[in-house]
């Protein structure tokens, strides 16, 4: 029971992180290796907001807005100038990740910072004789809610239609008169915002600490490769799959704890290189 709940709640968190990564990659073809950095920045801004006395939802908002702003600036100021040069994109985003990491070290120091869960969720629920923290269940609910909202946004709105068009055929989208630079900035800011929100939500579980960016990034990459590049449904399913392996794998096969996470990814890549839900053209 605990394993199931742990997998689900961690999967929810993972989805929030990967959804943004996935959107950015799907639309812009930018492998944003600073995504973990946005996640960490969100966590720190959230902790700072909580310490300043803001209620939890506002702290989440603050984390999301801060990363969205940084994302928009970075996209307009750096990524746009690079164009389609993939090597440069990788270097620029890794560079940004390092800058975020070092800035956080300078501002907040290197010791892990604790973030309290909202007052009402600070208890543990007893389920089938085992304790489970209420906050984690709330994170699961929130992430499912965000997943549904994202789905509605992409499938049911005009903006979503533009995004989907961008994923499928960028040239045609441009020809239709949709402002691609604006679409790109918006996507990058929104993807970064999701990472920041995930960071704040993660803080009461993982704390805010230097290095959480590169603890989370490989997980997000595994999810995206597994689920299929640019597919939100893939990210959703992949997140829960990876979380289950992450939680249960080391228990069943403790000797393989370090590699077990990559096994499903390797199997999927061998059989279906485009990922579970990716389309072959990507």
């Amino acid at each position: 029971m605990t394993y199931l709940l742990s997998s689900l709640s961690f999967g929810g968190l993972l989805f929030l992180v990967t959804a943004g990564f996935c959107l950015i990659f799907g639309i812009m073809r930018v492998p944003n290796l600073a995504h973990g950095g946005f996640f960490m920045l969100g966590a720190y801004v959230g902790v700072a907001a909580l310490r300043a006395g803001l209620p939890f939802p506002l702290a989440v908002l603050a984390g999301g807005l801060a990363t969205a702003a940084l994302g928009a600036v970075f996209e307009a100021g750096v990524l746009r100038r690079i164009g389609n040069n993939e090597d440069a994109q990788v270097l620029a985003t890794v560079g940004l990740a390092l800058i975020i990491g070092d800035s956080i070290l300078t501002v907040w120091g290197g010791n892990p910072l604790r973030a309290p869960a909202p007052e009402a969720l600070r208890t543990s629920i007893q389920l089938a004789g085992a304790f489970f923290p209420a906050y984690r269940l709330a994170v699961l609910l929130v992430s499912v809610l965000i997943a549904v909202l994202l789905w509605l946004l992409i499938e049911r709105t005009r903006l979503g239609a533009m995004l989907r068009a961008g994923v499928d055929d960028l040239k045609m989208t441009r020809a239709l008169g949709i402002s691609v630079p604006l679409l790109f900035s918006g996507t990058f800011a929104f993807g970064s915002c999701l990472a920041g929100v995930a960071g704040v939500l993660a803080a009461p579980i993982l704390s805010a600490y230097p290095g959480m960016d590169f603890d989370m990034l490989p997980l997000a990459l595994v999810v995206v490769v597994l689920g299929g590049m640019g597919s939100l449904l893939g990210a959703f399913v992949g997140s829960f799959l990876v979380a289950a392996v992450y939680v249960v794998g080391p228990v069943l096969f403790p000797e393989f704890a370090y590699v077990i996470l990559f096994l499903p990814m390797m199997i999927v890549m061998a059989i279906r290189p485009q990922g579970l839900f990716g389309s072959a053209s990507h």
Binding site: T2, G101, L105, P112, R114, S124, P133, L206, A257
Partner: protein, 409 residues
């Protein structure tokens, strides 16, 4: 041409004048620490401890002015090696203090021995640095890994009288050694390790490991940094706190982490060769001064930096010649005897490892903050506990599977 000669002469006059003013040449000390990445905090604490001692003593060690060259290894063994070479070959330092991690220390161990430059360890705990791979160019200002958990094994078996324990620790060399030391003494004193749970180094979520704990009398855990903080919080959230006593070694409840831990940490019993709550005048002075300077109690790393400086200071005081003679300095370091330090009296064994007090501490709220209150002191503890050194050295170093679980023996 003439002017160049004159300039050279001027420099010479200046240099000889400087030497005449103080016949003790300035001492060049290289420090290998970490300023970037996840371990930057412990690197800073080590450096702060060392610098605090220098400030206390007018920037002099054994009468020599000190010029400190600090290098950032980023915690990577390969970079530590390159930085050590840079300090020794280009900066020509008289000695090196650090590095922070055991993997880094092992990476530069051979180089330092071949270069014949003293290495004073301020935190690296790996057993073999002073056991199966000793170097006469090495001294440790802290202790060996098992040295601290041996004492806790004794305390758990004989004072707490717990019988069945599950261990849960990070799956890397330090975790293996700290658990191995606990297991050896605890089982020799009648206890039983039921299961050893190993957690990958990058794990952030402990829920699935916590649910494997099962039917035991106590839990022995070893984590550090953010993992320590998350573990302690989750131990409470998953309903284990208050039900099963939590035993540990210094890193889980280091003074640098306590302020962020809150009540979840209360009651944890740990062992260590230092606690900021040791009640001797030297430590009270150190803690008071350090708190005033850095707003936090000194922990393992800060005390490590401080003690490294004290080792150098006390060693040089016993020397007749100048401390820049590396061979004599090394001999003095290996023979150093510390009386009246924050950690009490310390001498070194034949491997350059301290024989020192090991404290059993319990987290309590005192003077409005969490502290590792000392509840028992094991005096003059050797890295070999009460075992015959030759016998310990003939066996393997503590590892994932050594000592083996009794069920599999």
């Amino acid at each position: 041409m003439l002017s160049r000669v004159a300039r050279c002469a001027g420099v010479l006059v200046f240099l000889s004048g400087a030497a005449a003013a103080d016949d003790r040449p300035a001492l060049k000390i290289g420090m290998l620490t970490i300023h970037t990445g996840a371990a930057a905090a412990i690197g800073d604490q080590t450096e702060n401890g060392f610098r605090f001692y220098l400030e206390e003593h007018g920037n002099k060690l054994g009468g020599h002015d000190v010029s400190l060259k600090v290098s950032d290894t980023t915690g990577t063994p390969a970079i530590a090696k390159a930085k050590a070479q840079e300090l020794v070959q280009r900066e020509r330092v008289d000695m090196v203090v650090g590095p922070i991690g055991s993997a880094e220390a092992l990476a530069i161990h051979d180089f330092m021995r071949e270069a014949e430059v003293p290495l004073i360890s301020s935190s690296a705990l790996a057993e073999d640095l002073t056991q199966r791979k000793p170097s006469k160019w090495f001294v440790r200002a802290t202790s060996a890994t098992g040295q601290m958990s041996h004492a806790l094994g004794d305390y758990a078996a004989n004072t707490l009288k717990v019988r069945k324990v599950v261990t849960i620790a990070t799956d890397f060399a330090y975790g293996h050694e700290i658990v191995g030391g606990f297991q050896r003494v605890f089982e020799d004193d009648g206890g039983l390790i039921v299961k050893k749970i190993w957690v990958p180094l990058n794990a952030t979520d402990f829920s699935s490991y916590l649910s494997q704990i099962g039917d035991v009398d106590a839990v022995y855990a070893s984590f550090s940094g953010a993992a320590a903080q998350n573990f302690i919080r989750q131990y409470a959230e998953f309903g284990l706190k208050g039900r099963l006593p939590l035993l540990s070694t210094h890193s889980l409840v280091d003074e640098s982490l306590l302020p962020e831990m809150g009540d979840d940490a209360l009651g944890i019993i740990s062992s260590g060769h230092y606690s900021a709550a040791i009640q001797n005048p030297e430590n009270q002075k150190f803690v008071q001064g350090f708190r005033a300077a850095y707003k936090v109690d000194p922990g393992f790393y800060a005390a490590g930096g401080y003690m490294a400086a004290m080792f150098i200071d006390e060693a040089i005081k016993t020397m007749k010649g100048p401390a820049t003679d590396k061979r004599q300095l090394m001999d003095a370091l290996r023979a150093v005897r510390i009386t009246g330090s924050p950690r009490g009296d310390i001498s070194l064994d034949e491997f350059g490892n301290p024989v020192c007090d090991v404290e059993i501490r319990k987290v309590e709220r005192k003077d409005g903050r969490l502290q590792n209150v000392v509840i028992k002191t094991y005096p003059h503890v050797s890295q070999f506990w009460t075992y015959e050194p030759a016998k310990v050295l003939a066996g393997p170093v503590y590892s994932r599977d050594f000592p083996p679980l009794r069920a599999t023996r």
